[in-house]
Structures are given as C-alpha cells and as structure tokens.
Symmetry: C2
Subunit: 341 residues, 2 copies
DNA sequence: GAATCGACTGAGAGCGCTCCCAGGGTCTGA
DNA sequence: TCAGACCCTGGGAGCGCTCTCAGTCGATTC
C-alpha cells in the first residue's frame, strides 16, 4: 500500500496508514482527538505533520453538511457603499468574529437586481452555512431574495417593517440615542431645536426622527429638514433651517457627515458654534469627527461590536442553540460630549 | 412558508427518478446537457424546476477538485487599506470578473503576522482554487506564506524583487507613466522639475522615481523629496522643496493625494499653479481629482481593469491554458491633461 | 435484409471524509 | 481467577456527484 501518491495531497487514509491506525481513529485525532489514547494521538499527530496532511474541505462538508463559511452580502445600489467607513468597521468586526469562530467570509457583491438570481442560487446552493446582510432601503428587493434562500440570516440594521419579519437583526438604539442627543440640547437650555433628518426610506433615519419627536412633541414641523446623509445635503439643510427659523439655537443632525456640512454652513453664515447654535451629530464616525471645527458632540455607537454581534447571533442560529427565532439585538448608544454642544 | 421537501434538499438521484432517466443523464443535463437528446433534456429540466433542485457544491467539488472560489487576500498592516478607493476599485473589478467566470470571492482579511498560519492553512486546504493578493511592502512576509500554499496566485502590483519571483502580477506602467508625466513638464518648458516620491519600500513608488530619473538624468538630488502617499506628507514635502529650491517650476508627485497636499502648500505660499509651478500627479483617483484647485493633471491608470486582469490571469493559470508560468501584465497609463500642468 | 457504425444512455466505481456499531482489549470487583 | 463493565478501535456504509465504459438502439450502407 502506497502511502503518498505523488502529485495529489495526502488523504486521511494515508495518514492512518502512516500512523498504523484506522482511518476512523485518524479522523478522531484530526477533529480534536477526544476518546483516543494518548500514544495513538501522538502517532497520528506526527503522521499528519510528516505528510503535511490537510483535511479535504469538500469531503468533510459533504458528510457534515456544514462548510464553515458565511456570506456577507453587500448591496451597492448607490455610490461607494463599500468604501463607506461605517461599512468598513462593521465588516471588520464581522471578519474578526468569524475568524474567532473558525468560519470563512464569502463576499457577495450585489450590483443590482440582475444579480438577485445569482445570489439566490448561491445562497441556496449550500455554499455557505448562513448569511449576513445589511438592510438599506425600503424598496430593496434583496431581503425577500435572501428570505427565499431558506438559510439562517442576520441583518445589520433594522429592515423596513414588513420586509423580512422573521429575520433577526442587530441595530443600535437609534431612537434612544436621538432622544439622548435632543435631551442634551434641551439640558443646555436650547429652546428652538431643529433636526436634519436622513432619507425616510431608511429605518435608522426614521428612528432618529422619532427620537427627536419623542422629546420635542410639539416642535414646529418647519424645524425638521430632510437631507440624504451626505455632507452637502447637511450644508443645504442647515441653510434652509436658518432661513426658516433664524432663531434656531440647537440642531440634532441625523449623522456626522451631515453635521459636518451643517457646521460649514454655520461658519459661512458667521453663526458661532456652540454659542449661537449647538450641534449634535450621530454615529461618532472617526474620520468625520476628527476633522470638524469645533469638535463634534455626537451619539456614539459601537459599529465593530455590532458586526461581531451579527456573527454571534448567526452562530447561535446555526448551532440551534437558544430560541428558535432568536430575538434581535439593539445595542446601546452613548453621547460623546465635545465642543459643538 | 411553502411546503417543499421537508428537511434536506432534493438530490440528483431524485431529479433522475422524477424525470425517468439515470443519474448520469440528469447530471449531463445539469451540466449543460451536451450529448443528451432534446426530449430527455426537457424532461430533466422540468424535473429540476419542479423539485427546486440545486446541485450540492461539496459533492461536486469532491470529484471535480474544483470549487469555483478564489481568495482575495487583503492585508491591513496599516490604517484603512480596505476603505482606500484604490482598493475598492480594484476589488470591484475583481468581483465583476469573477462573477463573469462564475467564481466566488472569498475574502481573507489578514490583520497581522499572527494570521499567516491561518491563511496558509486555509489556502492549502483546498477551499479555493487560487488566490489574488496585493503586494504592499517589501518587509511583508505574506508573499512567502502565499507562495508556500502551492496554489495559483496572482499579485496586484509588482512584488519587491526577490520576494516571490514565480508569481505573476498585474501592475500599471509606473515607470513609463512617470516618464510621460515628467516629459510633459519638460515639454511645457519647465527647467527645474522636482519630484515628491512615495515610500521606498513600495515598488510603485520606486518605479515612479525611476521614471523621473529616466528623463531627468542629471537632476539635482535636492529636487527629490520623499513623502508617504498621504496628503499631509505631500504638503510637507512641497514646503521643503520650495525652501530648498525656490526656483522650482514643475513638480511630478508620485500620487494624487500627495499632489493635492502639494497644491495646498503652493496656494498657501501664494505660488500660482500652473503659471509659477506646474503640478502633475499619478493615479487619476476620482475622489481626489474632483476636488483639487486647479484641476489636477495626472497619470491615469485603469484600476478596475487591473482587477479584472488579475482574475483573467488567474483563470488562465487554473485552466492550464497558456504558458506554464504566465508572464505578468503591465497595463498602460495615460496622461490626463487638466489645469495644473 | 443483414452488417456496421455512431450516438445515447445507464450502471457502477469512486472522490475523502464522518459516524455508527460491533468487536476486542483492559480494568475492576467478587 | 473469572465475569461483567467500560473504553477504544476499526470496519464499513454512505454523503451527492462526476465520469468511465460497456451496452443499447436506431440509422445507414451494401
């Protein structure tokens, strides 16, 4: 019996032969060695080492029905989602946690509805044990596509109500964070507090408005101006707000990027921050916060931690541990006080 | 949700039975249907449809020894490689081309030397057919790790000489592009042309200096000032250059980001661009070029195309088509003339 | 009309691994 | 010293698919 076939990699069979044990025993050792006597474990380990044995992943998956890979679905309906620092941090958290679980990250990049079929086929094809996706817009058909694949999925961000009710998600406490931001402004003695909101088809934006309204129940509707989460839109919204209500003395902006834009407008108009108008952002995005003048007071969320949490939730789903449909997780936010408010 | 086969998914066997053919015939149809009579093809197709059959990837891989996945190795020895627009574009190109080849992208995120073992094991474990990696710094041990895995690999960017001699790469014509940039400055009648270079442990930076020297053989060494590819370093280098040689009337900067910094310094010092000093960058990075004043003349490279090319090269390696060791590809660059030179 | 040929089809042998189950060895208690 | 209990170990049966190879069947040719 030849031990090592030239060319191809050694198999478990070869390791077993080399160690003088059966394939079953070799397999046990390779998978942790529980229930195998120490001397045999040693022998097998040595054989593995000497032969440079690496388990064949496909063969293992075929019988275990587990392949140790998780898909991360990144949809790019618009400009540069991928290089968004928010995404980067979340994906990093996911990657780290996945590594800790010895699972692999398979990137599924969706460029449009034309890809949905491909994605569905892939997810359904048993290539991955589960998937992580990000809920973006309410008109996105992706959640439905993913749902159809019938594999465990966890969302990053709360999906639009009704889109995917059975899928657990991880989101930060957008509403609570917004409330805290607004209360902080109130606590500072501000009387006329405006809100620059994000696009209404994203739940995070909607939740943040709700948080604002929770505190300021009777606020003048003219005090809410909508942006689209970009810096320019924040600048524009701030200008409009200033025109509508020159008496504004506090602004809660739905994200840091727009807050940065708002700060620019305020400076241009000669409005002092925080003396005349106090500004609070949301996200505590490092790359933005570092460069605003004055330093931005904002609502911090642990983005990387949310990524890790998504993986943990998914792993629980895969293990079958915990409740059948694990409840979603809302992570806490905290206000970071800097100079702008 | 719907009923569908309780528990496990239908197998080829089931499809065959449903269609009244053998497993072999069903397999042929699923894999293109060549050599099967039309009525049978129809029958099998219908069975596949009705049963919602999806091939089991692991089983297929087990016998074909091909798994249709390619690893993209992203090393992050420093701050935010991932959200770098350069990377984003390249990865997008890779992703698109991979999809066109029906292959899957597996992301391998390397966070440090501690991960090397994991990566090596993964690459060697038959999880992927090949790998794509980016050569970053000369002191990086990653190329060696990858080389040891003995699977087809293609690099993005030329590796440091001696690191991985047998691995093909895709790089743009850094030297030629640099030469064109400098010649353009010469053609503009500039006499004292400086160069702001990148970090010397990256081949792209080295090649660009070489290109500069190719044209300006006798240039004063004081005309070359080193940066680290960041905007700030470009600003600093420009300041130093101005101090050393106030008579400078042209600068070739090794990348756009540093060029943007240089432009800032020039403006601060009241030096007119391009009247007093003409500036040429490198990369034609959209996000940078769009915001410089004046608009930056720069050397364009097709980054997404390079990503696609990496995949094409790898596919050729996997197919066994073409030469045993395919030669690397150097993509052309082109000068984009804008206002700064 | 029979022989030859070519085009399809299907049976069966694995790919490399895990896991069930029976059998053998060892250890303990009487 | 021997039976019974308990551990280990190894044989063997697949996991679902591809692929070779032999066999079938209709068509073509003389």
């Amino acid at each position: 019996m030849t031990e090592q076939t030239a060319g191809s990699r050694p198999t478990l069979e070869a390791v077993a032969a080399h160690a003088g044990v059966s394939r079953a025993t070799a397999s046990r050792v390779v998978n942790g060695g529980a229930g195998v006597r120490t001397p045999l474990v040693e022998k097998v380990r040595r054989a593995v080492e000497e032969l440079g044995y690496v388990p064949n992943h496909a063969a293992r998956t075929l019988v275990t029905r587990r392949n140790g890979a998780v898909a991360v679905i990144i949809a790019e309906p618009e400009f540069r989602v991928f290089s968004d620092p928010f995404f980067e941090q979340q994906v990093r958290g996911i990657s780290r946690e996945l590594t800790a679980h010895d699972a692999q990250l398979v990137l599924l990049w969706v460029e449009g509805p034309g890809d949905h079929d491909r994605i569905a086929r892939y997810l359904g094809g048993g290539h991955v044990d589960g998937a992580l996706a990000f809920s973006l817009h309410s008109d996105d058909a992706l959640p439905a596509v993913i749902d159809r694949a019938r594999i465990p999925v966890v969302f990053g961000g709360r999906p639009t109500p009704g889109t995917a009710p059975t899928i657990p998600f991880v989101d930060c406490d957008n509403r609570g964070g917004a409330r805290e931001a607004v209360r902080h402004l109130v606590g500072l003695g501000r009387r006329t507090i405006a809100h620059i909101s994000g696009p209404p088809d994203q739940t995070s934006a909607v939740d943040r408005i709700h948080g604002y309204r929770d505190v300021l129940i009777d606020a003048d509707p003219a005090l809410v101006c909508q942006g689209d989460f970009t810096e320019e839109s924040g600048a524009r919204a701030m200008a409009e707000l200033l025109d509508r209500r020159p008496d504004v003395d506090g602004v809660f902006v739905a994200n840091d990027l727009m807050a940065s834009g708002a700060l620019l407008t305020l400076r241009e108009r000669g409005v002092r921050v925080p003396e005349d108008v106090a500004v609070v952002g949301f996200d505590d995005m490092d790359s933005v916060v570092r460069r605003t003048r004055p330093a931005l007071t904002t609502v911090h969320q642990d983005i990387e931690g949310m990524g890790r949490l998504m993986v943990k939730l998914l792993m629980r789903l895969l293990d079958g541990t915990g409740p059948e449909v694990p409840e979603s997780v809302i992570t806490p936010t905290s206000l970071v006080r800097r100079a702008s408010a």
